[in-house]
Amino acid sequence: MNKDILKYLNGQMSPDEREAFSQRLDSDESLSDELMRIVARESYKQDLKKEYRTWESENTQTGQKIPLRKIAQIAAGLVLLVGLSVVLIHYLNKPSHLILAEYMDYPLPGNHRSGTATDTEQNPMSDAFDAFREAHFEKAAQLFEGYCTNPALTTESNLYAGISLLWTKKRTNIEEAVPLFQSILATANDRNDAAEWFLAIARYELKEKEEAKSLFQEIAANPNHFKCQQAKAILEVHF
């Protein structure tokens, strides 16, 4: 910046100096232009400062306002999150397939799952077995669980309720089956081997592979276990 112009504007010249400088401004166009540049710059800056003060007072008077756009972004984010959660829950509960379905075979009273009933009329849980045979597994599970309160049927109903839940192929149902099998294993009974087997399958389907592996190894190591050979096959193919 021209020092003389600054002195002129800052009032740092004597009256004589001011007069002489004023005459120079009249005759020297470039000096006059320089003065205008300084004036324009300072004035522009002051206008900007004013603009900031206005903005600040508008935006901080009632605390810092959250702009509408920000609110819209948060709302959109929440909607997306809820949407994703719904999709995820739906996906998790969607029947998929059982990886170890071929190992799910287990005799029903009188016959196998795929067979026909012969003595179901005598079985107190016949309605549940009927639902099971008709592949209405959710219904079967509910019916079996209804018999849990009968001490004579607790073990068997828990086992078949667990198997029914497994067959629904839904993750949440398989998770529910685990404690049913565990409750059977808590006491020594004739369904222990079956409960252990289906617990291993449930663990595998829930991707709890380490737990499943140790269960399958336990079964494979027991030559008297009715699923010993199948456990060996699973260990060979799936681990």
Partner: protein, 189 residues
């Protein structure tokens, strides 16, 4: 919203850059976008460094002046917003030196300011009297003249460019500018 995605910013920055070097209307459009960012960044920076409202408004003013001057020298060639942020950062450090009586040797070291800094300030800047004179003059002239002076002497727009924006001939603008200059001179005197 915290940090933005670079990939989205990139398109916006390129568009801004194109607008900044476009015609007057495009430049104004870019400025209106950048101004909003600058106001917000200055506010945040000012709060962070403990500036009062006056100091922050000064920071904003100096930032926008520096940005305009860089633009006139074609000095902005990549990201206008990034450039703006850098100016705010540098200017705020300068301001901290002045207002808090500190000088930074680098970001780690802080020392007390020297008397030379103050002497230099007297030689380089308008004092309160100077600013008052300028403001008095600019506030008491025809607003059209004020715009003309800003456009021609600060934004470095040619007479032809101004004439085009105002739908007038360059000769008319030249005459108006001469009158504006005369009016300012009288008021400053």
């Amino acid at each position: 919203m915290g940090k933005r995605f670079y990939i989205f910013d990139r398109g916006k920055e390129q568009k801004l850059l194109k607008l900044l070097y476009g015609n007057e209307r495009e430049r104004n459009e870019a400025f209106s976008i950048l101004r909003k960012d600058a106001l917000k960044y200055c506010f945040i920076r000012g709060k962070k460094l403990g500036f009062n409202s006056d100091e922050t408004s000064e920071l904003y003013g100096e930032t926008m002046l520096a940005f305009c001057e860089s633009l006139q020298k074609q000095g902005i060639d990549a990201s206008p917003t990034g450039y703006l942020k850098t100016i705010i950062k540098n200017k705020s450090v300068d301001k901290l030196k002045k207002t808090k009586g500190l000088i930074f040797i680098n970001t780690e070291q802080i020392e007390l300011s020297t008397v030379e800094d103050e002497k230099r300030k007297d030689l380089m800047e308008l004092n309160e009297t100077g600013i008052k004179k300028v403001l008095h003059a600019m506030e008491n002239i025809n607003p059209l003249y004020k715009t003309l002076i800003h456009s021609h002497y600060f934004l470095k727009m040619s007479l032809a460019e101004i004439a085009m924006g105002q739908n007038a001939s360059p000769e008319v603008i030249k005459t108006q500018l001469a009158r504006a200059r005369e009016a300012i001179r009288k008021l400053i005197k």
